[in-house]
Structure formats: structure tokens, C-alpha cells
Subunit: 120 residues, 2 copies
DNA sequence: CAATTATTTCGACATTTCTATAAATATCGA
DNA sequence: TCGATATTTATAGAAATGTCGAAATAATTG
């Protein structure tokens, strides 16, 4: 991950619809979802959805694959991981006590999902 | 962290200069840096820097404090942590094998890479 | 108080971004 | 092949954003 790539990825995520798409795909995992399902679930017009999916794909955050008439979109996990790592790179110059609570942020797919689904 | 707040934070980060400011402050840790130093290091005109710092502050990503003539800007760690957590919330619906490599993304402040997944 | 340093506010302009409608493409089943 | 379903492309206009120079504000020093 480098600076321009990170800006592109962040710009792709910095939009209501696209962030919703992204988070929906984060929940979905590897198989992903067809464009139509995303459009229906998020209440977005198909052309608008395509526009946003293209933004996410161009930023390398999602990938697509056709399955019959449907086109499935799924998360590009490597990019997501790269982005998160890039944001906290060289954090605090080796003074962990300053932002020690951060590691939990990356605790994706934690085996002990004790947290509530939706924040209260 | 909620959806609108996350969009605001991401939008604040989705810009070259602001991402550079943010990452510089991530490296700096708690004390932060005066606006002038940031402007000089990043080669940005003072008014432009102020504009971007305000964007970051409005998004809750940085805070400022005056010290004499200088105004120090420092990272708002809680917001950063909240944002990273929000992005990977409910990742893969409990199928860790799908995106297991993600945890390292949050390994902030780790000069010695230890597996401190869930501290307490 | 006057001069100097540090930062912010103001005003204006070019550029980019988002959304919607209409039309086009791709795939499947009869 | 024809019709139906799923998705994309094309086009255009309104709204938001980034950058700059000039001037203003805040704090320190002589």
C-alpha cells in the first residue's frame, strides 16, 4: 500500500452508499453478493450501484465475477488489510502506551465475538 | 462510531494532504506537532494547512491545543480506533478463515510484533 | 506600545463528484 | 430465435471540494 493507493481507497469508502456496500460485503465474506441483491438491500438504483461498485473496484477494494446473469461482488481482503495497516504505520514511534488500545481494531473475525451486532 | 461519523472521518482522510498530516501525527503520538512544523514538513501553504486541519478536527480525527504562539495538533486516538473497528465490524459473519490475516492491520505501536490480540 | 511570529479567516475560482434517466449489453429459458 | 432478467454504459446537470492571495487575529518580545 502506498500513498496514492490509500487515498483512492479512502475516497472510495468516504461515501455513504459505498461505505454501506463495503460493510455489507465485509459481513458477507468471500462469496460476496450479486449486484441486484446489493441494490435491493441498500435501496439504490441499479445504475447508481454500478457507479459505486466501479469506484470500489477501481480502488481495489472489491472484485467481481460473473455467475450466469448475475455479477457477484466480493471484498478484496488484501487491499483492506493493506489500507488499515497503512493508516497506523509507525504509530507513535514505538511508544505503545500512547495508542495501545488500537490492536483490537483489527480483530476481525475474532473467535470470541462478544460484542453486540449493532452499536447501541 | 456510526455510519455518518465514519463517512466524515473517511472523507477527511481521503485527501492527499490530509492523509499525510494524519500519518505524520500517527507517527508523532500524543504530544502532536505545531501547525507551522506540519506546514513546513509537508510543503503546504499555511491557509491550506489550516483548511485541512479543520477538516480533520471536524471529523474528530485530530485535536488542537495552543501553547504560546503555536497551536499543536495531535491525533484523536479514540476516533481512529473507532473507525478501524467500524470498517471490519461483523467481518465474515464469524468465519475467521476468510479474512484471518486481518488482525495484523491493527498492530499499532508494535516495534516488537507480539500477538496481543485482546489485551485484558 | 510597536514589531515580530504563528496561525486563521475571507473571497473567489476551477475541478471533481453524485445522481438520475434513457439506452445498450449479456445471459438464460422456452 | 424471442422474450425476460440482470447489469452496464452514456449523458448531463447540480452540488461539494481544494487551492490560492490578501487581510485579520493571537501571542511574544524589545
Amino acid at each position: 500500500m502506498n500513498h496514492p493507493t490509500a487515498v483512492a481507497a479512502l475516497a472510495a469508502l468516504a461515501q455513504e452508499t459505498r461505505l454501506a456496500i463495503f460493510r455489507r460485503l465485509v459481513r458477507e465474506g468471500a462469496p460476496g453478493l450479486p449486484a441486484g441483491v446489493l441494490a435491493a438491500e441498500l435501496g439504490v438504483a441499479p445504475p447508481t450501484l454500478t457507479f459505486h461498485l466501479n469506484q470500489l473496484a477501481t480502488a481495489g477494494l472489491v472484485q467481481s465475477r460473473r455467475a450466469g446473469r448475475q455479477v457477484f461482488y466480493a471484498l478484496e481482503v488484501d487491499t483492506m488489510r493493506g489500507l488499515l495497516g497503512f493508516l497506523v504505520e509507525d504509530c507513535c514511534q514505538g511508544h505503545p502506551e500512547l495508542c495501545a488500545p488500537l490492536p483490537q481494531a483489527g480483530a476481525c473475525c475474532s473467535p470470541a465475538p462478544r460484542r453486540a451486532r449493532r452499536a447501541p
